[in-house]
């Protein structure tokens, strides 16, 4: 939390200098903030060119309309993620084909029920996910994240990959903290299930032979 406050203060100082016309301050701010925005856009779109465009549009908005940022409503980071999210949504409306969305609904129950093996509450896991830290598994985790429904994917990216707190993610997503928490729990449950899926399938295939 202290780290986050220090970051906010540094951002605030840079933003003030930037508003006074200091180009170096803007460059510093961009270099501090853009990697997270770019990664978020990349994870959400699965498309490097689109992630680049979104990153550009986010900071273009900061240059052209810096007054839109209200520090009383959240951190600069949350504000920038919010802009990125809006741009992504606009793009998705225009180019639906670029989005590998598995499910648009916020209701996980139907989605989980459609999975091949039991998961989440009540159902026992089919097998242990015991090597999730191997390189191969990291690739599988990345792919599994990209197939999550949009609402779950964004909380995984913000809370797990960008290591935001629930409060920060809630500010960025403009939703209550409880919603972020419940979406993240559901997203993690789906991820675990997806990561078990190929093994179960392989096992069934081997038994068949």
């Amino acid at each position: 939390m202290e780290m986050s406050q220090k970051n906010d203060l540094a951002d605030d100082r840079l933003l003030r200098r930037m508003l006074a016309g200091d180009e170096d301050a803007f460059t510093d701010l961009y270099r501090r903030k853009h990697p997270a925005i770019y990664r978020f856009a990349l994870h959400m779109s699965g498309n490097a060119a689109l992630a680049e465009d979104v990153t550009q549009e986010v900071f273009m908005a900061l240059v052209r309309e810096p007054g839109r940022f209200d520090p009383t409503r959240g951190s600069l980071g949350a504000f920038l993620f919010g802009i990125a999210r809006n741009h992504l949504k606009k793009r998705w409306e225009q180019e639906r084909r670029l989005v590998p969305i598995a499910h648009d609904s916020d209701d996980l129950d139907d989605f989980v029920a459609s999975l091949p093996s039991g998961t989440g509450s009540g159902a026992a896991p089919a097998s242990a996910v015991d090597d999730l830290d191997s390189l191969d598994t990291i690739g599988r985790v990345r792919r599994a994240i990209s197939t999550l429904p949009e609402n779950y994917r964004e909380v995984v990216v913000l809370c797990e990959l960008e290591e935001m707190s629930y409060e920060e993610a809630a500010a960025a997503l403009n939703c209550p903290v409880g919603t972020v928490r419940s979406r993240l729990h559901r997203a993690r449950t789906i991820l675990l299930e997806k990561l078990r899926e190929p093994r179960a399938a392989r096992r069934v295939s081997a038994l068949g032979k």
């Binding site: 180009e23 999730l132 290591e163 707190s165």
Partner: protein
């Protein structure tokens, strides 16, 4: 703690500020007793490791340098535009302030003349030679030479008199201080006419009229003006 309570908490076990110490202990105790929940806990820990590894692997992911260059260019453009706007506003504000000061000065001067004229028991005569004072605005340029001499005389006289102010160059004058070949004409002007000459007098009504001397150059253009006390006409 039962399995459903465990499932509520186990995802947050390693997340700072979410699960308290007592709850954490309960979750771990339950996992020791329940093999299914122990397995879920192991999987969740493995998922955390994989996500941390993925996050670490992507730390260096950045937008290409061209985005930064483009944004810096945009920043320069945006701030150059606002700097230009600031300069324009400053010039406009200075011009407005100057105009207001001029108007205030003129009206104060006029007020002083009027009150001085009213306070005096004896009526002052205009400081202009009679030949100039009676000249019509459409002064004939044929007697320009004699007028030039008269202008000089009038100026020297008027400087000693309180009934007329000093000549004030008109905003559009070519050379307001030069009277060579020109003439001084006495006119009586209303407030709108004074305003049209750049003298916005505020303490008189539209119907009031005030006498003034105008230096008219050889080509007939008005160059400078001075206000003359009303009493000077009497």
């Amino acid at each position: 703690m039962d399995c459903s309570q465990f499932e509520e908490l186990f995802h947050d076990l390693d997340r700072p500020g979410t699960v308290g110490f007592a709850e954490r202990e309960s979750v771990l105790e339950h996992a020791e007793l329940c093999s299914r929940c122990a397995q879920l806990l192991t999987q969740a820990e493995s998922l955390d490791l994989a996500l941390s590894a993925l996050s670490a692997q992507e730390t260096d992911e950045r937008a290409p340098a061209r985005v930064e260059n483009l944004l810096r260019e945009e920043f320069r453009k945006a701030h150059a535009g606002s700097a230009r706007r600031r300069v324009r506003w400053q010039i406009a504000a200075l011009a407005t302030a100057a105009a207001m000061l001029l108007a205030l000065g003129l009206s104060l001067r006029h007020y002083e003349r009027v009150t001085a004229g009213n306070g005096s028991a004896s009526h002052r005569t205009p400081s202009l030679p009679p030949s100039i004072g009676s000249r019509a605005p459409e002064a004939n340029s044929s007697d320009v030479d004699s007028v030039a001499t008269e202008v000089a005389a009038a100026d020297s006289q008027s400087s000693d008199s309180d009934s007329a102010s000093a000549f004030i160059p008109l905003p559009f004058a070519d050379d307001s201080m030069s009277t060579d070949g020109g003439a001084i004409v006495r006119v009586v002007l209303s407030r709108p006419e004074l305003a049209s000459l750049g003298l916005p007098v505020t303490d008189m009504s539209d119907t009031d009229r005030i006498p003034a001397d105008i230096i008219v150059s050889e080509d007939g253009a008005s160059q400078a003006i001075r206000l003359v006390s009303q009493s000077a006409l009497d």
